[in-house]
């Protein structure tokens, strides 16, 4: 398995398919959410292309690649529109895992839990895309860097798995991947948005400045 140890951005940017992807992505973030099937399918195929290059990219790098994509949607932000409509199906969490082509909810970067029992409704916990993220400030190794649209990007190769980011986040939106022993960080890619049947999630553009 050939590992790609240098800047993982390079091979991706040189790949014409990836470039097309980034354009598609940028357009999407500019115009907000879309639901047309063709678009979803195309995006899906692109996700697949990147994720399926597993032989060239071991899991960690693969995940880094996906995080890179957020550079091209950097001025967008995941927002929760109306949590009272949430039915607690967690389809967003499953979608978040499916970005990596896997099932379950272990790698989810957002969480839907009850507000103290199903009788009380639900809480959707997602990264707020802070402009001055507390998680970044406590990271002892500089593995978290500021994402232009707010929030952070994770460099897995620097992360030592100390969990300070998890403890620090005031809204508890940094989750933990027990299998890799690294945090699950939301990159505001919006993949989950298309799978919320009740339109609770939305990708919004962040105003510059």
């Amino acid at each position: 398995m050939a590992k790609c140890r240098h800047d993982v951005r390079q091979p991706l940017l040189r790949d014409p398919r990836a470039l097309r992807f980034t354009k598609d992505y940028a357009r999407r973030s500019r115009y907000g959410r879309y639901r047309s099937d063709g678009e979803s399918r195309r995006r899906n195929i692109l996700f697949t292309r990147i994720c399926d290059r597993e032989e060239e990219y071991p899991v960690r790098e693969m995940i880094n690649d996906i995080e890179l994509l957020s550079y091209y949607s950097q001025m967008s932000r995941l927002t929760i529109v109306d949590v009272d409509r949430c039915v607690g199906c967690q389809l967003c969490m499953f979608a978040c895992n499916r970005r990596f082509g896997i099932g379950g909810i272990a790698k989810s970067a957002l969480l839907v839990r009850s507000a103290g029992g199903f009788e009380r409704g639900f809480v959707v916990i997602a990264c707020r895309a802070c402009p001055d993220p507390p998680c970044m400030k406590v990271c002892p190794t500089g593995a978290l860097s500021l994402r232009p649209g707010g929030g952070v990007l994770l460099d897995r190769s620097k992360c030592i798995g100390c969990r300070l980011c998890v403890e620090t986040c005031p809204v508890k939106a940094v989750f933990w991947d027990d299998e890799l022993n690294k945090p699950n960080i939301c990159i505001h890619c919006g993949y989950c948005v298309d799978y919320c049947p009740y339109e609770i999630l939305e990708i919004k553009e962040v105003e510059a400045g």
Partner: protein
């Protein structure tokens, strides 16, 4: 790991556990009911006492759990204290995804603890926790609230627990999960209670790998799209299962007041539409289900002694509880049956069996077979929900000899106090809310768990009502047999039966391929018959007698939409069903 294979064995008597890898078993039967049936045959000694330490509790999930939408059910198998035979009950909530994420395909719980315990399973961490401080909390919702604070894994866990009825070994006590979902039928709650097991928490953080990531996403999108665009699913989301009340009443197939009538004139008062318009407070979904069929009513009531002070109760309702705790008891007032449902939920009882038991008791009371001495002063009367609420508490607490008998089901109570003719149980299980024609009853009599969900005879009846010719008893048996066999596959996967229109054979084969299981259509057919026969083998071993089938006379007295039932038709059909079951090649 593409298909689940790990089985967690827990021994409550010795407080030990171990994990087995049963890859071959899962490859052979996929998961769910197929695997659980084999595990039951392995782990349940012949003629085990249902409430004794030897009776195992088996939970199983399937290969699609956590991967595809609507694969959100857990199958529980055990020996039922209600029927003394095969106990099978399914529940959704977050149970299935939690068990799979914890890394297990199945769990086997054996033995019985001397002191109350609850189990805390977080992936590979398995703990026996002291529950003596929560034993005796009768309210199943409160138990959940307590355990929730004690355990980690919010949003990723399931909390199964029992209420007072389970502790007191009521034969139809349920196990509640996520407040509103239940392993409702056949008394799993009592089996928990007999093991002094108050609750079971499961959570985990394991991912599920697939064979082909791209194909996985594509198939996922197809299934997801089918689910959100299907009109059936829309119906279950909008009005919920309660949308069946009006049509069944119109057909004259809704059992009313212990099936003395097949419909009620002013049914509009309690229709699904009325419930949604006036009371719907929230819709809830099982994990990984876009439909959200769980409907919760918000009931706002004033406190009697305090002016301007109200309490709002969130009460889950469905078609079946509206039938059993509403129509069956003559309660045609929404507030009335909601309060009764709340009491049943709190105590941790199966809504269907409780309703049918109370309906039998009301008629027996009317006929003078039982009196106030037996009922502890309660005058049971159709529609009198306040009295029924007190009676429910008596059942859950098994307050006296009569309520203890009633807590063992109508089959038992009627053999003690009389009134067998109107004791509406089939194979000792209280009847579901369909009086649509002969085939639903053949289904209740022959189904492995004596439930309407075994072979959906009501749906065959409805086809005849819609204009198809009535099949001969033999044809009816064959249709029911095929349907029940096919459902073994759905219940092994384990997908919600509401999605049976989406998960047809080709979709299932594609989905299994993504999990690394390569099968063809005939393999599934073969497997389905094998699973069904395994169940039948267990039933025969535990004393099920195909010759001694009791049919309560009441069903012949009340006309169905397909006319008066013919006992000869039913018996012939039942007979040919069991012949098919024993037939070697199919």
């Amino acid at each position: 790991m593409t298909i689940p294979s790990k089985v967690l064995h827990i021994d409550l008597s010795r407080r030990i556990f171990h994990v087995d890898d049963r890859k071959k078993l899962f490859e052979r039967y996929l998961g769910g009911t197929g695997v659980a049936t084999s595990l039951l045959l392995e782990n349940c000694p012949k003629h085990a006492e249902p409430l004794g330490p030897d009776n195992p509790i088996i939970f199983a999930v399937g290969p699609l759990t956590g991967l595809f939408p609507l694969a959100s059910k857990t199958v529980a198998l055990f020996k039922s204290p209600l029927t003394g035979n095969l106990g099978e009950s399914h529940a959704g909530g977050r149970s299935a995804v939690a068990i799979r994420s914890a890394g297990y395909g199945a769990m086997v719980i054996k033995g019985s603890s001397e002191t109350p315990v609850y189990m805390s399973i977080h992936g590979r961490d398995v703990h026996f926790r002291d529950a003596s401080g929560i034993w005796g909390i009768v309210n199943a919702i409160t138990v959940g609230r307590v355990v929730r604070e004690l355990e980690s894994g919010a949003g990723m866990r399931t909390i199964m627990r029992i209420g007072g009825a389970g502790e007191n070994l009521v034969s139809y006590a349920c196990v509640t999960t996520e407040t509103y979902r239940h392993f409702g039928r056949l008394g799993l709650g009592a089996v928990f209670g007999s093991k002094k097991l108050k609750a079971l928490v499961v959570s985990g953080h394991e991912s599920i790998e697939v064979e082909d990531k791209g194909r996985y996403r594509e198939l996922y999108d197809d299934i997801y799209k089918a689910a959100v665009e299907s009109p059936v699913m829309k119906k279950y989301h909008d009005i919920g299962t309660a949308s069946n009340i009006l049509p069944l009443n119109e057909l004259r197939g809704l059992p009313v007041m212990n099936l003395r009538m097949p419909s009620f004139q002013d049914i509009e008062q309690i229709s699904g539409e009325k419930l949604v318009e006036g009371y719907l407070g929230r819709r809830v979904a099982c994990a990984h289900c876009p439909v959200a069929c769980i409907h919760i009513a918000a009931l706002r009531e004033p406190y009697e002694r305090e002016p301007y002070f109200y309490k709002t109760s969130m009460i889950s309702y469905d078609y079946e509880p509206v039938y059993s705790l509403g129509a069956m008891l003559g309660i045609f007032k929404i507030e009335g049956f909601l309060k009764l449902m709340d009491e049943v939920e709190t105590m941790g009882l199966d809504a269907m069996s409780t309703g049918v038991a109370l309906a039998w008791a009301t008629e027996a009371f009317e006929k003078g077979m039982i009196g106030k001495e037996e009922t502890l002063g309660l005058a049971l009367r159709w529609g009198d929900y306040s009295t029924y609420i007190i009676a429910v508490e008596h059942i859950a607490r098994t307050s006296n000899e009569f309520y203890e008998a009633l807590s063992k089901g109508v089959e038992h109570a009627s053999s003690r106090y009389g009134g067998k003719d109107f004791a509406l149980s089939f194979g000792s299980n209280e009847m579901p809310g369909y009086h649509t024609g002969p085939m639903c009853y053949v289904g209740y009599l022959t189904g492995s768990r004596h439930s309407h969900l075994d072979s959906a005879g009501y749906s065959l009846d409805q086809k005849v009502i819609a204009g198809e010719a009535l099949p001969s008893p033999e044809e009816a048996a064959e249709k029911l047999f095929k349907e029940e066999a096919w459902r073994q596959i759905l219940n092994s996967l384990v997908v919600c039966l509401f999605s049976r229109g989406i998960y047809h054979k080709d979709v299932i084969l594609d989905a299994l391929e993504i999990c690394g299981v390569n099968l063809v259509g005939e393999d599934l057919d073969q497997m389905s018959f094998e699973i069904m026969r395994n169940k039948f083998r267990f039933k025969l071993r535990e004393g099920f007698n195909t010759e001694e089938i009791r049919i309560p006379h009441r069903i012949f007295e009340t006309e169905t939409p397909l006319g008066q039932l013919d006992e000869g038709y039913l018996r012939r059909s039942v007979e040919s069903f069991f012949k098919l079951m024993q037939c070697k090649d199919l």
